[in-house]
Subunit: 207 residues, 2 copies
């Protein structure tokens, strides 16, 4: 919303003196109430000011936050999904560490023989496991992975804002995007991470 | 910005038929041009529509992106700084791994005897180093840390959006917030991470 100089002056006056009547605003600007009427109408319609009968105008920035919240609600996981790095259960911890480096991701997703999503293994899990020494060559990743019912996941139709909330709540860096199969098991379709959110944050500024 | 039903109808018409003249919009709504004038004025002043002489009205959502960009510019690193986890150079890789687990961070910052910022060591660096086996007990973290001139950092007065851009550009998960000392060296004052950005993203929605 591009405000003209007078509208900006009105906002400043109301910010510092509100609630204030239209007459008093006009007085301060050395203008008539009638002259100000269109500006006040625009400022109240846009939600920047609110008018209460017998009280006057006061400052609310409701519109701005509402606009941002509405904008954020538009982003769906589908449009921001990235490629998931998936390994099979039974893979050794050593091979999992090699995979996480080769693919340069923070998290690996694990499936069973049927392709069902069964676990998650983060860089942190692997670092902890690496302290085991030589055993990492023979120990399967299944031993250290997070498994049901402790797995968090989202679907392609979820909103990005929900994914961000879930990562903060669960204190994890990335989430698998899954789809339910006919037998009720989950298939991994994508990935979303705090990097995705940070990129989106940056793009909000650039747009 | 709270639009009334008629303004919403105008936007829909212009979205699908723009550029379109005020007369044609009025025709479609079975109203006179004069009746629409205040609505069109508000929609153009708010930046939702733009009017070009001899061409007509067309849809632009400039204002919305501008509002978001303006909002994002308000956030400074100072208000979102978290506590930095700092270790001294010479610490063994093994002790660094223990520290990163105890403090539950993704990155350690390293200082020398004088307290100057000299390096960064991420969970990824430590995972790579952990493959060295027994040597991690005797090898200092200095061997594996990132050092000048490859260090990225920000100051308390920088904007959060700049920190987010830098993390994406440099492909890192967190940044030290530094202050220049009188001798020109850097002192670590705080930390900002992709988690900080994700939390801020979530709070934008809640506000």
């Amino acid at each position: 919303m591009e405000l003209n100089k007078r509208q900006q002056q009105i906002i400043d006056i109301v910010k510092h003196n509100g609630p204030i009547t239209g007459e008093h605003i006009a007085d301060r600007l050395d203008l008539t109430r009638a002259t100000l009427r269109p500006d006040l109408a625009i400022l109240t319609m846009s939600g920047i000011l609110e008018a209460r009968p017998r009280v006057g105008y006061y400052y609310t920035n409701k519109s701005q936050n509402k606009i941002i919240a509405d904008e954020l609600k538009k982003y769906h996981v589908r449009e921001y999904a990235s490629h998931p790095i998936i390994i099979k259960n039974g893979m050794s911890i050593y091979d999992a560490i090699c995979t996480i480096f080769m693919e340069d991701v923070s998290t690996l997703f694990i499936i069973n023989e049927k392709g069902d999503f069964v676990g998650v293994c983060s860089r942190k899990d692997l670092l902890r496991a690496s302290m085991m020494g030589e055993d990492i060559h023979t120990t399967p990743v299944d031993i250290i992975m997070t498994r049901m019912p402790n797995l968090s996941y989202i679907s392609m139709d979820d909103k990005v804002i929900y994914a961000a909330q879930l990562m903060i709540e669960k204190e994890i860096d990335s989430l698998p995007i899954v789809q339910q199969k006919e037998n009720g098991n989950l298939e991994i379709k994508g990935r979303i991470s705090k990097t995705t959110i940070t990129k989106l944050f940056v793009s909000l500024f650039k747009e």
